[in-house]
Amino acid sequence: MTLTTKTEDEPKFTWGTGADVLVQSILREGTEVIFGYPGGAVLPIYDALYRKKVRHVLARHEQGAIHAAEGYSRVSGKPGVVIATSGPGATNIVTGLMDACIDSLPIVVFTGQVARPVINTDAFQEADVIGITAPATKHNFQVRDLRDLSRIVKEAFYIATSGRPGPVLVDLPKDVSAEQIEWRSEKVEIHLPGYHVPGPANEKQIHRLAGAIERARRPVLLAGAGVLHAKACDRLRLFAQNHQLPVVNTLLGLGSFPTSHPLFLGMGGMHGTYAANMALSECDLLINIGSRFDDRLTCNLSKFATEAEIAHVDIDPAEIGKNVPTKYPVMGDAGVVLEQLERTTGSCKERQEWLRHLHTYAQQHPLHYENRPEDSTIPPQYVIERIRHYAGSDAIVTTDVGQHQMWTAQHYQFEHPYHWVSSGGLGTMGFGFPAAIGAQIAEPEKTVVAIVGDGGFQMTLEELAVVTELHLPIKIIILNNNALGMVRQWQEAFYEKRYAHSIPSFQPDFVRLAESYGVTGWRITERDQIDSVLESAVKNPDPVLIDCRVKQMENVFPMVAPGKGLKEMIGV
């Protein structure tokens, strides 16, 4: 693949360093903000940033920087850009790389490396970053020759953002970024003979799938994050409406279809709704658009969609047939394929009976939880409903990982795309709060709510400094059950309540902690405080942290236990 762009507004003929070339190349890609943390091997790059006055957000830990970049990318659709130093700086971003890799987020990371002459000498802060990050990136590069740098940067952005998006890392030895070079404004051509982005889908595949959709009596559409990446939510809605297809979302697909839509059945999978999981189990045609049949969605594969023919639309051919044998494979971008399908699919079988059947499931088995006003403890699900009430469907919601994440996915009722930010594939605790920083930077005018657990928040809470420094009006809501709740729930259910290390005996005073960082901190301990505190938090133009004490022993239901099929839900 070869692509050419003309470079404009660049110096015609001057001397600069490799770092200047780097910064110029990053800006040329339209980068508005860089998340990073300095160190010895990136000093030349930081010097170039200083000269260029680029917007740079100083995280307080490299993991915070990369999760912020992920949040920024999820909300804006643009690539998130990160700089970290060599050695420990680079190893600190590995979790974020893996997270972005499995959740298909376009992230471009630049790491410093020790100077070329000392590579492989175990030099100070040397790490084999290419080796370490190869399985956690879509691709990575080490720049060995300064003349390759602008091309590599262009290739890195192209690979990260095209096809199935993913993280790309560029490792830059210090002597390359410090080297002087005559800077010429010239065309940069990328050269990637082994990289292909699928075009429109094969028409034969489209025709076969369209025929199957026309014939199906009990079809269901499973919409994943691929629909969001393809910016195809409007097309999805039209297609579902025109052909009367009920829709199930994956965890990461939430927001791609409005929760309030009559065709929407909710999230499927381990903590999905009864109606969604029964639809997946009873359908005769399952059309997966842009999801990878993750095991948290399918649960026991041998019991998954046993009555259905499977159709799978994916831009990544390696996903098709990976977990579930597929009768109708369609390789292509979700938006392009939906358009092709719309043109091709004729009138469909009558489906009122099937839709009514699913509707009955939804009515008879809605999500529910115990909420007795006379109880002194607060159900966490109720807090989420109240957050939804005050922050509304226009707020961007990020979560960390655990019970609070599942409750938010179940109860927040997302209406719009790109308003839901969560770590799905890797399930990375520590993701939610820094991701909210990136989200707020991408959308400065929107309300951004970070719903986090007391455990996960402690993994990246150092980023509170960034919130104060940049005055980001994020609302951080800790659903504080004083437990590693999701672990505790599994111990309760499958280890006879042996709560090994899931109920810590100490936790910090989160309110005073927030205040020590200059963030307003409030605490909710009683039911009657919920409304007034949430209402003032959402109205408050400043960052606010709320330590909301919730029922410790609450469990996430419904649930499909490990090894069970989607039909075998408990707590329905």
């Binding site: 990637l192 082994g194 047939g321």
Partner: protein, 79 residues
């Protein structure tokens, strides 16, 4: 069953490691492996591997994963 997989790759020092990482992730023993620069096209090499898999489906998936590598220009199960 024995399968022969042949890949045409961009000649660079990291490409073999990337393929080897996949093999190790898939827990596949390599019976035989050769890598050679192609005389016909500069900057490209040919890697051929003889592997032992349990079912054909596995090779299909493996070939797709190898093909995803940016340094791999083309790959096929040539058995």
């Amino acid at each position: 069953m024995k399968r022969t997989i042949i890949a045409i790759v961009s000649s660079n020092p990291s490409v073999l490691g990337r393929i080897a990482t996949l093999m190790s992730r898939w827990n596949l023993d390599i019976d035989c492996l050769t890598m050679q620069k192609l005389g016909t096209k500069e900057g490209t090499s040919d890697i051929s591997m003889l592997i032992n898999v349990e079912e054909a489906h596995q090779t299909e998936q493996l070939v797709k994963q190898i093909d995803k590598l940016v340094d791999v220009i083309s790959v096929a199960d040539m058995t």
